[in-house]
Amino acid sequence: MSRISRYRVAFTTIVVREILRFSRIWVQTILPPAITTALYFIIFGTLIGDRIGEMDGYRYKDFIVPGLILMAVITHSYANVVSSFYHSKYQHHVEELLVSPVPNWIILLGYVTGGVARGLVVGVVVTLVSFFFTDLHIVNYPLTLLVVVLTSILFATGGFINAIFANSFDDISVIPVFVLTPLTYLGGVFYSIDMLPQFWQDVSLANPVLYMINAFRYAMLGVSDIQPGVALALIAGFVLLLGAVALWLLKKGVGIKS
């Protein structure tokens, strides 16, 4: 059997195992974002949103749809990989992969693909929920897909790096709670940065999540605070950077080999 065939089988095995893992516990992994999103639409979209009026030419509840979808994708892509890979370290079954002839890049690709799969499933669920509350329309389908997939890859890779360094269950929740959530909420999910004073607009530009949410909003609604090209280049650059870091950590055996 050729090397490529062996790699393909190993990659498929990791991905299928990851998808089965989050599918078995769908009540924990798929259902919560549907409920959370519905609550967001009811509270921010309908009850408060009607008083806010329009934003960038859209009804407020339509304006927040891209941000809510991408926020769910980011959170779940990250959570899937950080949780799964840390558990495999904790239970030592990561050793199944380390003793077998699977190259590091296949291990990384497999876990990241698993994270992207969950991110996209959750993204679809949130999109379906939004149909009940908004008149959703998408301006640019290919760009929408590109941004959501790239963003999902980026955060799945981030989750992998977090899991490599994690030594306890606390370590896998610190980044999502204290870094990811604030960056996402302050990344323009619920507002346009034009609403902010100049100082805070400048500060917001240092938040990478702002670029992702705006690129996604541009792809869906055709409006953005950021140049979409700049945003895409930034996301792609971060994907390459984090991918290289993750591969280097795997090669050095950080957190997984003594």
Binding site: V9, A10, T13, S100, P101, S258
Partner: protein, 316 residues
């Protein structure tokens, strides 16, 4: 065992060193050869370095320096060949406790590039051989300790490795399962699989293995055939069961004879002394022995002598 000297060894370690981040020198430059088809015992007290050696061999631990070859493939330049030849049964349970038994084995085959259809057939075969087929759909965490050990063996066998490394595979299992595992290990060894076994049950090593290395404080302190090693035993201690009670032995009794209790004697035979001499003396003093046994397993005696001769941290 006759081997072709031109054939590569199953395992060849040269000047293998490992220093952990905390400064502990677990391996201080070991050289070790394991022939193809061998049943090899790697023994040593806790912390001696045997798990580190096995960890390096199976790519779970990074070596500090030295070379590792498995069937001629170098771990540094061709790690995939090395890994594909090895099946590891580690000391600790290291499977996903929440996955079904069959899935664990099939997934492991997948990691070795075996297509699912073929993996399913192989998984069925190894699970049946190891009496786990009826529990194939059970979550691994629901298995008994002995079953979990057998699951790790099934998982290690599914890609049909040429070298099996068994790190204390019978630890904590009852004697019945232990014996069935011994039979199984002997079968796969007869079928051509090279086996490296670490164990604290020295009786197990003595019964199963043809060659042996003892590692202590990061050094190989003994490396020979089991036969030669046992032949070199300087002394053996026996316990004799007596028909009639003996309370006191004559003054200056030979063979280090001493009374254990009124129905048991302990005798020490040096290498040059024979059992006939012992029994002649017992007969001449009207002492009738019903049975006898080694006080310690023979290998255990050698092992204790060997590992107690040196202090860790002081290189010889």
């Amino acid at each position: 065992m006759v081997t072709n000297p031109n054939m590569s060894k199953a395992v060849k370690l040269r000047q293998l060193k490992k220093t952990y981040a905390n400064g502990t020198q677990a391996l201080k430059g070991i050289d070790l050869d394991v022939e193809r088809g061998d049943f090899f015992a790697l023994l040593g007290p806790n912390g001696a370095g045997k798990s580190t050696a096995i960890g390096i061999l199976s790519s779970l631990v990074r070596k500090t320096s030295g070379t590792v070859e498995v069937f001629g493939a170098d771990l540094d330049t061709d790690p995939e060949s090395v890994k594909s030849r090895i099946g590891l049964v580690p000391q600790e349970f290291n499977f996903n406790q929440f996955e079904p038994v069959e899935e664990i084995v099939i997934n492991q085959a997948g990691f070795y590039g075996i297509p699912r259809r073929q993996a399913v057939v192989r998984a069925r075969s190894v699970l049946k051989t190891l009496d786990l087929w009826d529990r194939r759909r059970a979550q691994a965490r629901s298995l008994s300790g002995g079953m979990k050990r057998r699951l790790m063996i099934a998982r290690a066998l599914v890609h049909e490795p040429s070298l099996m490394i068994l790190d204390e595979p019978t630890a904590g299992v009852d004697i019945e399962i232990r014996r069935s595992m011994w039979r199984f290990m002997q079968e796969i060894n007869r079928a051509g699989t090279t086996i490296i076994l670490t164990t604290h049950y020295l009786e197990e090593a003595e019964n199963l293995c043809r060659n042996i290395a003892i590692i202590d404080c990061g050094h190989i302190v003994e490396n020979s055939s089991m036969k030669d090693l046992l032949h070199r035993l300087h002394r053996q201690v026996f316990i004799l069961s007596l028909r009639s009670p003996v309370h006191v032995l004559p003054e200056g009794a030979p063979f280090g004879l001493k009374v254990v209790d009124e129905y048991s004697l302990e005798a020490v035979l040096e290498q040059e002394q024979s059992l006939n001499q012992l029994f002649d003396w017992l007969n001449s003093h009207g002492i009738e022995a019903l049975s006898m046994r080694n006080k310690q397993n023979r290998l255990e005696q050698f092992f204790m002598d060997r590992v107690q001769q040196r202090q860790c941290g002081v290189d010889s």
